[in-house]
């Protein structure tokens, strides 16, 4: 099955003060550890199972009208061995693939905003 790593970048206004979730196909982004400064997050969500679409879920809270943007792309991974603890080891293979409909721009309404949508992967 196609397993992918999702590379994402999330930029938010300072008045968004709570990121409840950023998920790709149900897998959470570890945004706490992906903070790069200036209200920006950049990281990777590994080993996500997808077919032709990837579900993106974002929920944030803050002051009304504050905005955020999510950009993401995927790269296929392949099992290339085993880690010391016996778990499968994956390596990225092939080109980075784009996701249709990105970047996602959101504006806080009623002090929070929830976004969930399936986005088609540009495999070919």
């Amino acid at each position: 099955m196609p397993r992918v790593n999702v590379k994402y970048k999330f930029v938010k206004d300072a008045f968004i003060d709570f990121i409840k979730l950023i998920e790709f196909q149900g897998k959470k982004a570890d945004f706490q550890n992906d903070y790069i400064g200036d209200n920006q997050y950049e990281g990777k969500v590994e080993n996500v199972s997808v077919m032709d679409q990837i579900e993106i879920e974002i929920e944030v809270a803050g002051v009304t009208d504050a905005e955020c943007t999510l950009e993401a792309s995927i790269v296929k991974i392949r099992k290339t061995g085993t880690n010391d603890d016996g778990s499968p080891k994956y390596s990225e293979v092939g080109e980075t693939k784009q996701i249709v409909g990105l970047p996602i721009h959101l504006k806080v309404l009623n002090n929070s905003i929830y976004y969930v949508k399936k986005h088609t992967i540009k495999w070919v």
Binding site: D17, K20, D52, G62, D65, N111, S112, V116
Partner: protein, 448 residues
């Protein structure tokens, strides 16, 4: 000081340099009970105040810890004296802050339903990788078998290409796409004869039947539609207008306040040494505070205890010490030394205080990143001995402009009564101070 100069100082009293931070509210003393991540440098010309602070951040998670430091220098002789070694009385305040924060989105009457749906979704999501695995290992080979059959029929080249792209784009499980290909067999392949077209259609129809009846395809489609249904409900519940969000930051702040000055011990002293003494007045303080954002309103409240002296009630005097040198044969030589000292009985006492800040933020328009803030603050101070220092309450109102994208303070206006109940100053108009807050960008520094 002339009136014009006083007005100018009042108008341009604050210069705030914000470094990736928010300055939502600050009184004339540079204090706020609203704690926001980031760093600021404040220069208040009229108050002779320089303040720098840093609060950890961002605090975007559901819960976590936070910390911060403040360092403030203040001088009654004006800001310039803070940089010189003149006869000024520097007041240094340094403090540390430790706290926690909690964030919450409340879905009101939908709360239980949202939790239930989220749990359902999570359990389905956990099954999804296996379901996709099954699709790939069981359904894809079926698709591949039919694809190979179509490849052998040369006049159906275009049909093969379209079918292959379904495989390459992982949409082979979507029979509706195969149905479209069946409908287009004749138009896609102009040179194909009727019987070959029929043969292709039969193969593709068998493909549809095989995929449709496969239990792994059924399982995938069921899970997919279950998730679609959950998402639809979640979207409607979570984006309902009755929802609200809040962020709470309870904290403890503690620190030291030092004041260094020369004290005039009074006329009973017979020598210069006994008349004037250097006093290093160091006092500690501790406060419990809470910053709360509820929707678009920020609230701050802090209750504190502080050791204080009556330094502010002492009167400032400047003396001249004249020494005459009579050793010269052709005249007397006089040397003059100025001594600035504070006169009055020096006393130490306790202060209890209550600080409240409120600010409401309103966006300045759909295309603007800027917000206008309407705020107010209250500072109530109660002393252990009101014969020495009288209780007083300050009240301030301000309007400020803030860039919501960067959380940068842009400027604003404040008016403050230093003694709203006229406990120290009977003429109310004399308790009022006002100022324009201006901001200078300091983009070369970044704390994060």
């Amino acid at each position: 000081m002339g009136m014009k100069k006083l007005i100018l100082l009042g108008l341009f009293s604050f210069i705030l340099i914000t470094i990736q931070g928010q300055v939502l509210m600050q009184d004339a003393e540079g204090h706020s009970s609203i704690v926001s991540p980031g760093g600021t440098v404040t220069i208040d010309i009229s108050e002779g105040l320089i303040k720098t602070n840093y609060y950890s951040g961002p605090n975007d998670n559901k819960r976590g810890i936070m910390w911060g430091v403040d360092l403030q220098g203040k001088n009654s002789s004006g800001v310039a004296s803070l940089f010189s070694s003149g006869d000024f009385s520097p007041n240094i305040e340094m403090s540390g802050l430790f706290g926690v924060y909690f964030s919450k989105i409340n879905y009101g009457k939908f709360s239980k339903k949202v939790t239930q749906l989220e749990n359902n979704k999570r359990s389905i999501e956990q099954r999804r990788p296996d379901i996709i695995d099954n699709l790939e290992s069981n359904v894809k080979p079926i698709f591949q078998k039919y694809l190979d059959e179509i490849q052998k029929i040369k006049p159906a080249n275009k049909t093969y290409t379209r079918l292959k792209s379904l495989s390459d784009s992982y949409t082979y499980y979507k029979v509706s796409e195969v149905q479209k290909i069946i409908e287009d067999v004749a138009t896609d392949n102009p040179k194909i004869n009727a019987s070959t077209a029929d043969q292709v259609k039969v193969i593709l129809t068998n493909l549809i039947n095989d995929i449709q009846s496969n239990r792994f395809t059924k399982e995938f489609n069921i899970v997919d539609s279950e998730i679609d249904l959950i998402n639809k409900k979640l979207k409607s519940f979570k984006n309902d207008s009755v929802n609200y969000s809040l962020k709470a930051k309870p904290y403890v702040r503690f620190g030291l306040n030092t004041n260094n000055f020369t004290h005039d011990n009074g006329i009973d002293s017979l020598t210069l040494e006994s008349r004037f003494s250097e006093v290093l007045d160091t006092k500690g303080f501790i406060e419990l505070g809470l910053t709360l954002r509820l929707n678009n309103v920020f609230y701050g409240i802090a209750l504190g205890y502080s050791g204080v002296s009556n330094f502010s009630a002492l009167s400032k005097k400047t003396y001249k010490l004249v020494t005459v040198d009579t050793t010269l044969s052709d005249g007397d030589l006089e040397s003059t030394k100025e001594i600035t000292a504070y006169k009055g009985e020096f006393a130490e006492l306790s202060k209890y205080y209550l600080n409240i800040d409120v600010i409401y933020l309103k966006s300045l328009g759909k295309s603007s990143k800027n917000y206008i803030g309407f705020g107010g603050y209250l500072r109530s101070n109660f002393y252990s001995d009101t014969d020495i220092l009288k209780d007083y309450t300050s009240l301030g109102l301000n309007i400020s402009f803030i860039n919501g994208k960067e959380g940068r303070f842009l400027g604003g206006f404040y008016v403050q009564s230093n003694d709203i109940f006229s406990q120290n100053q009977k003429i109310f108009s004399k308790t009022i101070s006002f100022g324009l807050t201006v901001k200078f960008a300091f983009k070369t520094l970044s704390f994060y």
